[in-house]
Symmetry: C2
Subunit: 282 residues, 2 copies
């Protein structure tokens, strides 16, 4: 069967964290751009792949990473999975790719997810859900050159339903941060903390001084950027991936349902401005 | 683009719970058969689709539902997604299909996952992860004819890492069970409780007397089946989907790496025996 043909298990050689640090340095950027195709917002006459690779070409000198979210590809069915793989392959080799997949399943099943995301899609890192404990993470952690980002305090309004539950004398998200230090024995476990909760980001950074933090949900206001980035950076002013998706991807305003020309340039300008705003907050 | 063509949003009309109850009655069965294709265990010369549809044809009179797990299809890449959709479409209309996907993401992204799983794949129910709270569930709950099963106490060894954390005077999985009663305002929220933890299943049933429980991880021993099923059934001796995957799917022993003939018949016999063992425990 064609499905079982051998495929490269690594897009690019080298450990994620070292590759990320190199991209942060060379582009002077903590900006991670989310790649979330929305059928209602892609310019008429442009395919999903053309749109996303166009944005990548226009922004790659201003970012440290790209973060496609699996959901936005899966809504296109099997074709979406093919597009996802093509888009990941189109990212320049010196920029790592993190797939926002939020997977979490029991051991045998987690192994199949790891094969799907690391071996078939070919990304350098993934987001995972901690609710099932270490079993669900281990098959991913065994790929020592890749990195996982465990959901800790998410950016959504109902994040606190479970994550703020008092677990003894700490909240559940703090317990997850504590556990993540044990899970990090190979040095490849980071955390996801929503930019909408700067106080919680500061708590997580205090618990985990050296691990990477993925910070989604950052707004356009300099004040919000200052609060979130200031709380999440490590002692060296790094250790954070600040993710922006729609603000960069759909920077070009629509008119009568169609994007006017220059969408790639608009994304480039938005990425550069956001990179600079983030650097002002480091 | 072909990806945006209109697709049927429902495989079959009717509410999941009513369709499930009808299948439970007509087949006198609480057995749910997991459809998890393993490249190393499918008979030589048989395609994934032929294998799974063969098992469905052989077992459909003994089950109340089928449960493909997304991970085992995703490991085949885009082709796996096409196979998943074909296999779901091949299930007889009177047997509902539950996709074990364990998704969980913020609102806008959860909407895309709901479109992917309900509109494109076309399943009748899904499993979801509760770590992000109600925001991550709501886009799925809005499909009132479908059903979601929220992870509560999973079957794996490290389930307790988070799920047994004391949250006030109850454990976290009990808190999830309590929350699920509020989330169930439309009557379409069930829970996942591993058959490996009968005491916890009894606790969840006490908290949620009327909701469906999906019980994965059931073993082949009658004693284990008695304990798990006895703890999870509702007051009417129903309300449970007892899932078995590998014990039915790969019932035919392998010889020298190849399955000997009669794999479909072996799956049929395993499903019938397991259905009967479950009924003895109701």
């Amino acid at each position: 069967m064609t499905t079982t043909e051998a495929r490269p298990s690594t897009r690019v050689a080298g450990r994620f964290r070292e590759r990320l640090d190199a991209a942060v340095e060379s582009n002077n950027s903590l900006l991670c751009v989310g790649l979330d195709p929305d059928p209602d917002r892609i310019p008429i006459g442009v395919s999903v792949t053309e749109f996303l690779t166009g944005v990548i070409d226009a922004t790659s000198e201003y970012v440290c990473a790209y973060k496609p979210n699996a959901a936005f590809f899966e809504q296109y069915g099997d074709e979406g999975w093919r597009i996802l793989r093509d888009v990941v392959a189109a990212v320049p080799d010196d920029i790592p790719v993190l797939l926002d997949a939020k997977r979490g399943d029991v051991g045998h099943t987690a192994e199949a997810y790891a094969r799907a995301l690391y071996d078939w899609v070919g990304v350098d890192a993934v987001t995972l859900n901690p609710y099932l404990g270490i079993d669900a993470l281990e098959p991913f952690l065994a790929y020592e050159d890749r990195h996982v980002f465990v959901l800790c305090r998410t950016s959504n309004p109902s994040a606190g339903d479970l994550q703020d539950v008092m677990a003894g004398d700490v909240r559940l998200y703090e317990r997850v941060a504590e556990l993540s230090r044990d899970w990090n024995s190979r040095g490849n476990v980071g955390l996801v903390v929503g930019a909408t909760y700067p106080e919680e980001a500061a708590r997580v950074r205090a618990i985990c001084p050296d691990q990477l933090i993925l910070l989604p949900g950052v707004g356009a206001q300099q004040g919000d950027i200052d609060a979130a980035v200031g709380a999440a950076v490590d002692a060296t002013g790094r250790g954070v991936l600040v993710n922006a998706s729609r603000g960069v991807l759909y920077a070009q305003p629509f008119e009568n349902g169609c994007a006017v020309g220059g969408w790639a340039e608009a994304s480039r300008d938005a990425a550069r401005d956001l990179r600079d705003a983030i650097n002002a907050a480091r």
